[in-house]
């Protein structure tokens, strides 16, 4: 799990400006830490076709946001929201469906470092907001 986080931190796949048209985006930052990111989402016919992000972030927020992008691409909007909901349950030590989380399971211990919950969810909360806005 450690390797998964270090891999996505040292070599994030989706950390770049969006390529092409049709993206929606939102900004997310915190008064309590340095994380300051923008996330970008593109959907076609109810399916996420691309998800990318840019900004300044620690290892935990970098890896968690990058893994999120991996998970969302190719998913239907509802599936994407379910993945985020299950992740949120995991982070807050509630029952969750581990089958949809894949590499995001690396963050299952986040609650032991309460100060890092924000890092592990900053990108996820932002993407959730974009998906919900698209839906409504």
């Amino acid at each position: 799990m450690r390797e998964i986080i270090m891999d996505h931190y040292s070599n994030p796949r989706h950390k770049h400006a969006p390529v092409g048209e049709g993206f929606v985006s939102t900004h997310s930052s915190s008064v309590n830490c340095i994380d300051d990111i923008d996330v970008f989402l593109k959907e076609e016919k109810g399916v996420v076709v691309d998800a990318v992000w840019t900004g300044v972030a620690c290892a935990i927020s970098t890896a968690s946001t990058d893994i999120l992008c991996d998970l969302l691409i190719g998913k239907k909007s509802d599936e994407a929201l379910n993945i985020i909901a299950q992740y949120d349950h995991m982070i807050h030590e509630e029952p969750y469906d581990s089958s949809v989380l894949d590499e995001a399971l690396a963050f299952m211990n986040t609650s032991k470092q309460a100060a890092r919950i924000h890092c592990a969810t900053i990108g996820w909360d932002a993407m959730q907001k974009l998906l919900e806005e698209k839906k409504s």
Binding site: C58, A59, R116
Partner: protein
């Protein structure tokens, strides 16, 4: 708790730690004994401060200047005694001591009560890039409201404010210079007495941010000749929510109140004619933070009992020790090795500051990561974020050793996440 006595004779940390419940109670963090190295952020409170606060609620409760009975008279006396104690502490007159909620409120009071009233379009306010947000944003507001212009005195290559650079920057248009006596990220001591001479030669006022200096070194406002000085109680073992604005009486007398209300007016009528009280009461509208005021007195008495010169010398010793031990690990970049104050700003090599701070948390060590409320300094240091360890008179070399041990293993920072 195992404590050793490796420090110099001037400060008895073993005895001192027993006077602080946060140490005596064996508080732990992440199942490790707490190592508190975030004193630039806030400090622990000794029994005498807690007792003073408690006594107010158990034996002395009353509002101030509101009644004709003994309890009220007694608390008014205590507030007056606190002003006298502060006056002795920083060498001013008791009526030059205004109680505020802290440094931020103090600086805002100068900004709005003095800056907005007296600055005009085209006037200059000088700051430095090392200032805390509390000593930047109020001046942005003054500039916005008056048309005054903000300019920055350049720092030297180490990040220090020098007389030469002030002389190069100050002009006939400069009306106000606002700088920290000790900067909160780098910990350099500004040459305030010399700065004041230059500032006054140009007819400007010197607003000194003492949040990081007053708790750690002797501050004599008469000798420094600063025009205003702000500091917070909670950074010198006092309660949160209480602080002080010192101002030269002649300047306070010209200032407008920032807040109006009860306790600061002499009389008013329905036509809107209001007579305000003289300073300092003019600036203390509403019921004051009385528990904070009595707690602040206890804290200042306690600090004076230990002695500011002892505290200052001891922290310099800790700083030298920390820099030397951290450098030996070969695993850190230190950004302020040369500065005087007990603040070490660093990064563990190849570890993002926040990840480092989480790792240190997992070892029971409290440090601060981030931009330390001095966001413009980042342009200067060339890093997005740093880790800051800051000391006080109760910090021991054992505390620093714990930090150094953890830093040696900093490469395994994700351990914090999996253990």
């Amino acid at each position: 708790m195992v404590l050793s006595r490796r420090e110099s004779k001037m400060i008895d940390t073993l005895k001192i730690k027993q006077e602080f419940p946060m140490f005596r109670n064996g508080i732990q963090m992440q199942k490790h004994p707490l190592v508190w190295l975030d004193n630039a952020s806030t400090t622990f409170k000794p029994d005498c401060v807690l007792n003073a606060v408690s006594l107010y609620y158990t034996h002395e409760t009353s509002n101030s200047h509101r009644g004709d009975y003994d309890l009220c008279f007694n608390i008014d006396q205590k507030i007056l005694e606190t002003r006298q104690t502060i006056a002795k502490f920083i060498n001013c007159k008791p009526n030059e001591v205004v109680f505020t909620s802290g440094t931020t409120a103090s600086i805002n009071l100068v900004a709005f009560g003095y800056g907005v009233k007296f600055l005009k379009k085209g006037d200059e306010i000088l700051l430095t890039q090392a200032e805390h947000a509390s000593n930047v944003l109020p001046w942005f507001k003054v500039a916005e409201m008056t048309g005054a212009v903000i300019r920055y005195i350049p720092l030297d290559k180490d990040g220090r404010l020098t007389i030469e650079n002030l002389k190069k920057t100050i002009t006939a248009k400069t009306k106000l210079v606002a700088v920290a006596h000790i900067t909160n990220v780098l910990g350099y001591i500004a040459p305030v007495k010399e700065l004041a001479k230059v500032v006054h030669a140009y007819g400007a006022v010197l607003v000194l941010d003492g949040a990081q200096s007053v708790p750690h070194m002797k501050t004599d406002v008469a000798d420094l000749d600063c025009d205003f000085l702000s500091f917070s109680g909670h950074k010198l073992c006092g309660p949160t929510g209480i602080g002080v604005l010192y101002g030269k009486y002649s300047l306070l007398a010209k200032m407008d109140p920032f807040m109006t209300g009860g306790g600061m007016n002499a009389k008013f009528d329905m036509c809107g004619d209001v007579g305000y009280l003289e300073p300092p009461l003019r600036f203390e509208a509403g019921t004051q933070n009385i528990e904070g005021i009595v707690g602040l007195k206890a804290a200042v008495d306690y600090i004076m009992g230990i002695g500011l010169d002892n505290i200052n010398a001891y922290e310099e010793e800790l700083k030298r020790y920390a820099v030397s031990e951290l450098e030996k690990t070969n695993n850190v970049t230190i950004y302020n090795a040369k500065s005087e104050a007990g603040i070490v700003t660093f990064n563990i090599k190849n570890v993002f500051a926040q990840d480092a701070a989480t790792y240190l948390n997992s070892q029971g060590i409290a440090v601060r990561s981030g931009q330390h409320c001095a966001k413009i300094l980042i342009d200067y240091l060339g890093v997005v974020a740093t880790v800051r360890a800051s000391f006080y008179f109760y910090t021991t070399k054992d505390d620093i050793d714990a930090l150094v041990r953890a830093v040696k293993n900093g490469g395994n920072y994700l351990d914090a996440y999996f253990n």
